[in-house]
Amino acid sequence: MTDEYPSACLRGLRKSDFVTDGPAGEKTPTAIAFEPDPNTTASRADGMMETSISWEDSDSVLSETAKQPNALYGVARTPTERLRYWQQQFKVKDHFGFERSPVLGNPHLGNLLFAADLVKLPKKVRTMITNALALESTIVQT
């Protein structure tokens, strides 16, 4: 396990609403594809909600991610540098972040993290972040 991050993370797209047509007819992820699961905050002590991702530590992670049931509609790739960029740009470093969360047999798992507290991270700001994530992401596997 390493604390360092590769150049990109991958997000499985499990619902048809997570994908739409872009202006040039290409498939592109929607903002809601990056919204966190509110149920995940219950198992955390830091009050954050999780959007599960895989860190693209090697070439094989993409094909492994694409095989998962939650990648039924493809896989979106987001550059780590752009995650950091928007984290600084939005000035929400304490309320939006990312982490590694490896499990036995899968060292690549991780999460995008969003504060569940609407005072710290109002819903409109959360949507703005997921909007930026969708903007920065490309679908690499359908």
């Binding site: 739409t20 929607t30 903002a31 409109k124 949507t127 703005m128 909007n131 969708a134 903007l135």
Partner: protein, 181 residues
């Protein structure tokens, strides 16, 4: 007069997936009815039982607790259909306005408009361009509906839907002046 909510309302009779302005009025009556029973925040506090589930449970404070009496009041087992209808009307009306705005601005070829539905029934309308995205979120609780945009150059903004002049939001998003209305 051109706040998103007002503009949307003015367009509701046109298309709105076959729904009428009457749906909005029924929604408002439903909110009023729930407010009378201490359930005014019901839509906001409903939570989904599990990922991908369409079943709902009420997590709001019961009417009896609010009123201070001891008679138990059964929680609403499902989200009233009128909430979904209301959100769909609002989203369809907003989409119609955006399509009109895009056409008037001559942007048709470079813009994609899409809608997506969250598990909680709220709807997201996205205006997608190669270097920027504008998102409108139509929430079950109208006061929580909002807009936001982000551009690759780092520009961003967000606000409440009800108080935002549509022309100002779109102008800021497009970096150009657009005719109001």
């Amino acid at each position: 007069m051109d706040s998103l909510g007002q503009v949307a309302l003015s367009h509701m009779q046109a298309d709105a997936r076959g729904l009428s302005q009457g749906a909005v009025l029924r929604f408002q009556r439903e909110q009023l009815r729930q407010a009378q029973y201490g359930l005014v925040d019901a839509a906001r506090s409903w939570e989904v039982e599990g990922p991908g589930s369409n079943s709902w449970r009420a997590s709001f404070q019961s009417a009896s607790a609010t009123r201070g009496d001891s008679a138990p009041v059964a929680p609403l087992p499902t989200r009233p259909a009128i909430f979904d209808e209301y959100v769909q009307v609002e989203a369809a009306a907003l989409l119609a306005v955006l399509k009109s705005t895009v056409a008037k601005a001559g942007l048709t070829g470079s813009v994609a408009l899409s809608t997506a539905t969250r598990d909680d029934g709220s709807i997201v309308v996205e205006w997608i361009m190669a270097d920027r995205r504008l998102t409108f979120s139509i929430e079950l609780d109208r006061s929580e509906s909002h807009w936001s945009y982000a551009k690759r150059n780092g520009d961003y903004a967000c606000g409440e839907l009800a108080s935002a002049p549509l022309s100002a939001v779109v102008s800021a998003f497009m970096d150009r002046e657009l005719a109001a209305g």
